[in-house]
């Protein structure tokens, strides 16, 4: 094909192509049945070329994880432009996570895998570094809003907690909920009656109340704030999600 053309541009494009092909494959088969041979068959490149990009299956899964973070950063950046109090904007951003989970189920599911120790243990150092950089960018979006909250007086950091700790704690809580309710993403009926979006909302609300970020949930109906924010900023995405037969129950 192109022997003397190792320009980064097309290399990255091909990496993306492999990732997208894998995701397409993962809409039909489970991660546990994913093999490199199946990926190679799905793609116009040979095994050697694929291995040139990804040192092993786990490395590819991590690549997908990073791709997922890119997607998230895009969605988060849109949510953060929501007009409202700093607490509302924080909550809006959290919900962009949910939109992503519902919009790209295969990506979401696979990205979770990429966090497991068994995958990380086989991931190339470069990709881990990339992962951390992306995580940092994501966290920075939250930092910004926390600063806003402190600036406008609606939030003061708890004793012994830095901005980073607050932001990390909130993120981890939401992450835990999503991991644990992930199974039922498609079945709609929640695990023992739990709905992802409900518990995600509850977790965020309790967290922000716990931080004493004003106005508290007792003073304001955040459920409808979120609802209208979603309809306004993510109309297209909601359309796609609904077309797939998944209703957001809030």
């Amino acid at each position: 094909m192109s022997p003397r053309a190792l320009d980064k541009q097309s290399l990255q494009e091909r990496e993306l192509e492999i990732i997208e092909a894998t995701l397409l494959l993962l809409e039909e088969i489970d991660v546990s049945q994913l093999t490199m041979d199946k990926i190679v068959a799905q793609v116009p490149y040979s095994k050697g070329t694929v291995y040139g990009h990804f040192s092993c299956k786990e490395d590819l899964l991590s690549g997908i994880g990073n791709y997922a973070m890119h997607t998230m950063i895009g969605l988060f950046s849109r949510a953060v432009e929501h007009k409202g109090s700093s607490r509302e904007r924080y909550q809006a951003m959290s919900f962009a996570y949910l939109i992503y989970a519902l919009l790209k189920p295969a990506l979401f599911r696979t990205a979770l895998c990429s966090k497991s120790p068994s995958v990380i243990g086989k991931t190339s150092p470069e990709r881990i570094q990339e992962h951390e950089a992306l995580e940092h960018r994501l966290m920075a979006l939250f930092f910004k809003i926390i600063d806003d909250g402190i600036a406008d007086g609606s939030l003061s950091l708890p004793a012994h907690m830095s901005k980073q700790q607050v932001s990390f704690t909130g993120w981890a809580s939401g992450y835990g909920v999503i991991i644990m309710l992930n199974d039922d993403l498609n079945s709609c009926a929640g695990r023992h009656g739990l709905y992802l979006e409900q518990e995600f909302f509850n977790t965020t609300t309790i967290f922000l109340d716990g931080l004493n970020w004003h106005p508290l949930s007792s003073e304001r109906d955040y459920r409808s704030v979120i609802k209208s924010m979603l309809e306004e900023r993510f109309a297209d995405e909601l359309e796609v999600i609904r077309a797939r037969g998944r209703q957001l129950v809030l």
Copy 2:
């Protein structure tokens, strides 16, 4: 050996033996390098026998996950006997989780793997069922304390939230923190300066404050409450953890 002796007792003992041998192995090698052959070599049984217990490596990992939950239930049951307010007892129980994480690092690390979709996808239905039953038992311990809190008037359930939702949300938050700070379990210095025990404490505190579970953290120094609870109820475990060179920084 024993042809006509399929008593459940010894079968379960052997299952445990295989699990413990695997955990021993996992103190030296990473999960990603774990193979069934290595396990078989570590154990006085043959491949066929091991496969009789566990249908594949993933099934074994899930078995380890369930074993971990057993361990946790044991520790939790001890923490719950702490004398103090209902909120204190809740917090004590949360911290039993941390004790477990520090006491059995290999078990803890592996149990995390067992939650990943790629592992669950290959786990036998029976074991998944067992997992859910154990999860239920664990949750029930939390239910109990939430009931106590409601009974003694220090807690009222938030609008639109059931006992189950509260308990789930709290659990998931703690779980997320632990997953995300897991890497550094042994390195002691936290990820970008975050310490597992610190953030675990913070998350629990914010969560309980968010629930408005009295007395709030502004009214009571829970840090020292936890400290003395640990010294009192988990002296032996703390000893072991310290002997390994890990200090609990609270």
